[in-house]
């Protein structure tokens, strides 16, 4: 999720909420206003009612007062005057109250009119009473009659006026109040609606955002789960990949090597060399990638065995000397005398580091020298810190690239890969291998002058003196035997062929089976000197087969595991299942040979070999080199061919003899040709090929029958001998 959009959403939502807040504040304000207004109008309504009521009270008081006075005057009964004083005071009190309540000018005016009318009425009544008190009763009655209630009517009129005014005012207040409330109500609605819309809007935005986040989160979760899964699968994948890649590489390389040994013209030799070089290169790159992955996955194990650094340097020197010689570069090794005789550490990894660095130095140096130095730097916590330096006079590394060359896929020059090849992983692996062994590496370089790689590794001192002879003893055979038979259990037909061909080349007899079960069966029935056991096979894999051979068959025959599983611990696993040794695929001819030699076999000396090869010297006429090459170690095919030969050859010889008797030159020629074709498969052509060819050419020209007869005798004799040999061999095989 982009940062800007997150900020946007925050601003949007804050703004919306502020708007909603404002809207609700307005609503609150308007409601307050409405309530206040209502209170004011209510007071006004109450006041208005009060005024009307008091006006009525004034009217009633004055009317009562006038009536009581009039009744007293007319009757002369003083008792009838009772309460008249209260009436007057009530009228005056009410009037005062009304004045207090009056607010508008109109009210005041009407009130003064009522006030004066009341005053007039009271004054008039007082005059009547005064007149009556003076004894002028008649005059008082006359005054009353004359007034005829005029004063009371005036008051009544004023009261009415006031009442009318108050009624009108009340109506006005109610109306105004109504419209105001309605307005407030509308505004209220509008503000509420606005607020609600804003809130809904912001909620919408929020939900949209949350939705987006949920989707992204889901994606992230899935990605994480996948990553975790792939991490788990990585180890398995590495094992499989190494097997899958190495198996075909094994075949390519193996057959290219075999092909290289056949008769080839210059062009073909060049091609084969290219295949070999490319295959080796590819294999090295694959090894690099596998190694690097192993290191990254934490699967690389550092061994702890006792070894001699000096001896290791010698073997590295021997390994790389041809390459240096090829490029005409001096390769110098300088071993300091202070080096401990033997140390404890991982010789394989040290070799790998040195071969990589020296290989690089040779690769990037066109003239001059590569020098390798090993010296004891110091002792640290009982460890001997050894410093190795590989210095060359090559193209060097640009200063700005020095930092990067130890990173993976980095080569100093962008065209390095193109020009010099390699995966770009070599130095990254070297660095990690050095670090895995608790060491450090650094590089100094000047462009066009050369580079110098220096690394230190701390090694524990070995107390057991390293025996020089140990490595040689591996080569010396435990069982000296020149004629041996090997059982090959391998399911891949190409590997079968490759191993079969190699063994055939070394004159080692072999049987091939394609699963562990058949291997066990074979071992039950036949005697072998060694078993080559592939680990990954159908039916019964190598581990099970080995266990079966040791535990059920109780055989102590050497078993050599063959596997493309190059993961650490594989060798240990094989040994734990009772296997004797371990051969990593792709199978290298030299490794296979030395392993076989180690456990079961003495290679025949050249003298013995030549004796075996000279087929005729031991009196044999048959030679199955061609047939075997054709068969590609398919024993069924050779057997069948031999059987066919035994059936065909006598028949053809009979036919030839008859043709010769009949002097049928055409038939002679045809049959001779046919026989020539037949005998090739048992190697008889080396003996009588020429004779048959001569016979053919005579027959073609229809001449020299006597010569043909002589030639036939030779052919017949040799063929008969061959048949005899084949029959003998058959008997030997089937006792």
């Amino acid at each position: 999720m982009k940062k800007t959009s997150a900020v946007n959403i925050k601003i949007k939502i804050s703004l919306a909420l502020l708007l909603a807040l404002a809207a609700f504040t307005v609503v609150q304000y308007l409601s307050n206003k409405g309530i206040e207004n209502m209170r004011i109008s209510e007071q006004q309504i109450i006041d208005s009612g009060e005024i009307s009521r008091r006006a009525e009270a004034v009217e009633a008081a004055i009317e009562g007062y006038t009536r009581k006075r009039n009744a007293f005057i007319l009757t002369g009964n003083i008792n009838l005057l009772a309460g008249s004083e209260e009436d007057v005071s009530s009228a005056i009190t009410n009037l005062r109250e009304m004045r207090e309540l009056a607010k508008s000018a109109e009210q005041t005016q009407l009130l003064s009119r009522l006030d004066s009318a009341v005053k007039v009425a009271i004054k008039f009544t007082e005059r009547v009473l005064i007149t009556y008190d003076k004894g002028n009763v008649t005059e008082a009655v006359e005054l009353i009659n004359e007034a005829r209630g005029r004063h009371v009517a005036d008051i009544e009129a004023a009261c009415l006026k006031i009442q009318q005014l108050e009624e009108a005012r009340l109506e006005r207040i109610i109306l105004a109040n109504d419209s105001f409330s309605r307005r407030i109500e509308y505004m209220d609605y509008a503000a509420t609606l606005f607020g609600a819309i804003v809130i809904i809007f912001s909620l919408f935005i929020l939900f949209q955002d949350i939705n987006k986040r949920i989707i992204v989160e889901n994606k992230l979760r899935i990605a994480r789960e996948k990553a975790e899964e792939s991490a788990v699968l990585k180890e398995q994948f590495m094992a499989n990949m190494s097997h899958e890649i190495r198996t075909p590489m094994n075949t390519v390389l193996g057959f290219a090597n075999l092909l290289g040994r056949t008769k080839l013209d210059n062009k073909q030799t060049t091609y084969i060399k290219a295949i070999q070089a490319s295959s080796e290169n590819l294999l090295r790159i694959i090894d690099d990638i596998l190694d690097f992955s192993k290191i990254e996955a934490g699967l690389m194990r550092i061994q702890k065995t006792s070894f001699s650094i000096e001896a290791l340097l010698h073997s590295v020197e021997a390994m790389l000397m041809p390459k240096a010689a090829e490029k005409n570069i001096r390769l110098e090794f300088q071993v300091s005398e202070t080096l401990p005789e033997s140390v404890i550490g991982d010789p394989t990894r040290l070799t790998q580091i040195l071969v990589n660095l020296i290989g690089n130095a040779l690769k990037f140096t066109d003239e001059g020298s590569v020098s390798v130095k090993a010296e004891l730097l110091k002792y640290e916590n009982e460890d001997a810190v050894i410093q190795f330096t590989v210095k060359d006079t090559g193209i060097g590394i640009p200063k700005e690239k020095l930092e990067e060359i130890f990173e993976r896929f980095n080569q100093a020059h962008s065209d390095t890969g193109r020009k010099y090849g390699g995966s770009g992983l070599g130095l990254a692996i070297v660095k990690r291998l050095v670090e895995l062994q608790g060491g450090a590496i650094r590089v100094e370089s000047a462009q066009d002058v050369g580079s110098s790689f220096t690394f230190v590794i701390p090694y524990a001192k070995s107390h057991a003196a390293h025996r020089e002879g140990e490595s040689q003893s591996i080569e010396s055979p435990l069982k000296a035997k020149t004629k041996i038979k090997i059982l090959v259990a391998e399911d891949n037909p190409l590997n079968q062929r490759l191993i079969g061909t190699l063994l055939a080349e070394w004159n080692i007899a072999s049987d091939t089976v394609d699963n562990g079960k058949s291997a066990v069966e074979k071992l039950k029935s036949s005697r072998y000197d060694l078993v080559l056991l592939d680990i990954q096979m159908p039916e019964m894999n190598g581990y099970e087969a080995a266990r079966h051979i040791r535990d059920k068959l109780h055989l102590d025959i050497p078993i050599i595991a063959m596997t493309a599983h190059v993961l650490p611990g594989e060798k240990e696993k094989c040994l734990s299942y009772g296997m004797t040794d371990y051969l990593a695929k792709p199978i290298r001819e030299s490794e296979l040979r030395s392993l076989i030699a180690k456990y079961a076999w003495t290679a025949p000396s050249p003298a013995m070999k030549s004796m075996n090869n000279g087929a005729s010297t031991n009196g044999r006429v048959t030679n199955f080199d061609y047939l075997n090459a054709l068969a590609r170690s398919n024993p069924r095919f050779t057997d069948e061919m031999k059987r066919l030969f035994l059936a065909e050859c006598p028949e053809e010889l009979d036919e030839l003899e008859q043709a010769i008797v009949k002097k049928d030159f055409d038939a002679i020629r045809a049959i001779a040709h046919k026989i020539k074709s037949t005998i090739v498969f048992v190697g008889l052509d080396l003996m009588i090929g020429k004779e048959l060819e001569e016979m053919e050419s005579h027959a073609e020209k229809q001449v020299n029958l006597s010569r043909i007869k002589k030639l036939f005798a030779v052919v017949n004799e040799a063929s008969m001998k061959a048949i005899e040999e084949l029959n003998e061999a058959k008997k030997r095989n089937r006792p």
Partner: protein
Amino acid sequence: MGYQFIKFNEMNVLIVEDEKLARNALRHSVEELGHCAFVAETAEDAIREVETRQIDFILSDILMPGIGGLSLVSVLRNIHLVKIPIVHISALDNEQVRAHSRQMGADDFISKPFTITEIAEVMEKHAKRVA
């Protein structure tokens, strides 16, 4: 696990060879190379095979009873208008025979005794046309 990286396209290969051992050897070689082998003992049989089967490649002897390998090619090319690769395998190896074989319409020539490599090479060389 099957590794098929060496095997190029499987073909139906017709082997024309009158001699039993050579025929068997050729059949073995062809099968060893991962192809399907059909056999004919004479050129006449071969023509019948070509008429009835989907043949992709022919390996033929030259010296055979009947019309022989050279005529076989000529017949197949000119009468049956067959375009598939035809290779002669013969112990009769000289410039004259090779020229004749080419003339008749054969694509290549292998001299007897043949090796499995020669068969493989010649098949690979001409198989492209089949595909």
